[in-house]
Symmetry: C2
Subunit: 183 residues, 2 copies
């Protein structure tokens, strides 16, 4: 199910535009784009036609993403014909039913993207963002801040036998058996 | 600077333990681990020694992460000597000054991890989570839900000239010149 292209949802851009229309001076919330300067955020907001929530992943021109290796005649060439690019305006892949080729987006945490590519798994509200290397995807997009829970402090050693045993002992979604926390 | 290993921070586990100690019945907040069932979350909380905030990325045994290819004698072998594993208890890489080898963690969104590996970039409050393939890293860890702003609806076509021009015209952090939104 594809949402209407120009539906304005309750996001920073709509709030900013509404505030401007109302002559208000309230600064827009920066929650959606914490790294941008307020002036730039407001300027982009003024240019915004609509906002759409998507799930975004990263990809490269490489074999793991495209099935093509350097030397392949279509290596690094998007569906639109232009070369992949990571720049001020980068190439991204989308479902062209939602975002036709040539659509210009601003993607928080990534920057400007122009829809230039497609992908078999990129259907509906999904985006694939181009990065030059796999490491760039890992480091620039595939990063999460999480609170990890420490269940057992390590001794500095680990054996294959223990690892195999604990894997057999733990059932999906269940706690670690107490004996493994004490051993 | 490395935080003390057993400092209990203000997280779900501490709240749950505090509630249990107080004989309270208040369910712990599920904000930190939205996918887990409350019973499992509470059981893990009871086993928790401490919680630590880290920035977690994904990695594989492959060349892009380890510099080793299949066939290398150390391919798929962690610093601890055990083989990489994605299972009920997976192998993860950490700074052993913070988390000694053999430390057992529960990582929201990933599952149980045992510290088995290290990495030159994994210093301090960082974790590298093992996945079997690059695609798994992209799809299972490198995913973000974002609100994208649509600045221009595409016509279905994109030219290399236009993409080059717009990249030259846009300065870092600045809005797209209006002429490119109308063309």
């Amino acid at each position: 199910m594809v949402t209407s292209f120009f539906t304005c949802k309750k996001t920073i851009s709509c709030f900013a535009i509404a505030a401007l229309l109302a002559g208000g001076t309230t600064a827009p919330s920066l929650a959606a784009a914490p790294k941008e300067k307020p002036a730039a955020v407001e300027a982009i907001a003024q240019q915004t036609l609509s906002t759409v929530e998507v799930v975004a992943t990263g990809y490269t021109a490489g074999y793991e993403s495209t099935g093509k290796r350097p030397g392949h005649p279509q290596y690094g060439i998007t569906y639109s014909g232009v070369k992949v690019r990571r720049g001020q305006v980068s190439t991204v892949a989308a479902d062209t039913k939602l975002f036709p080729i040539g659509t210009l987006l601003y993607i928080p945490g990534y920057g400007y993207g122009v829809v230039a590519d497609t992908g078999s798994a990129i259907k509906g509200h999904k985006l694939d963002l181009y990065f030059e290397t796999i490491k760039d995807v890992y480091k620039q997009w595939g990063k999460r801040t999480v609170e990890v829970q420490v269940l057992r402090k390590g001794s500095g050693k680990l054996s294959q036998t223990w690892l195999n045993q604990i894997n057999r002992a733990v059932e999906a979604g269940k706690p670690i058996p107490q004996t493994y926390l004490e051993s």
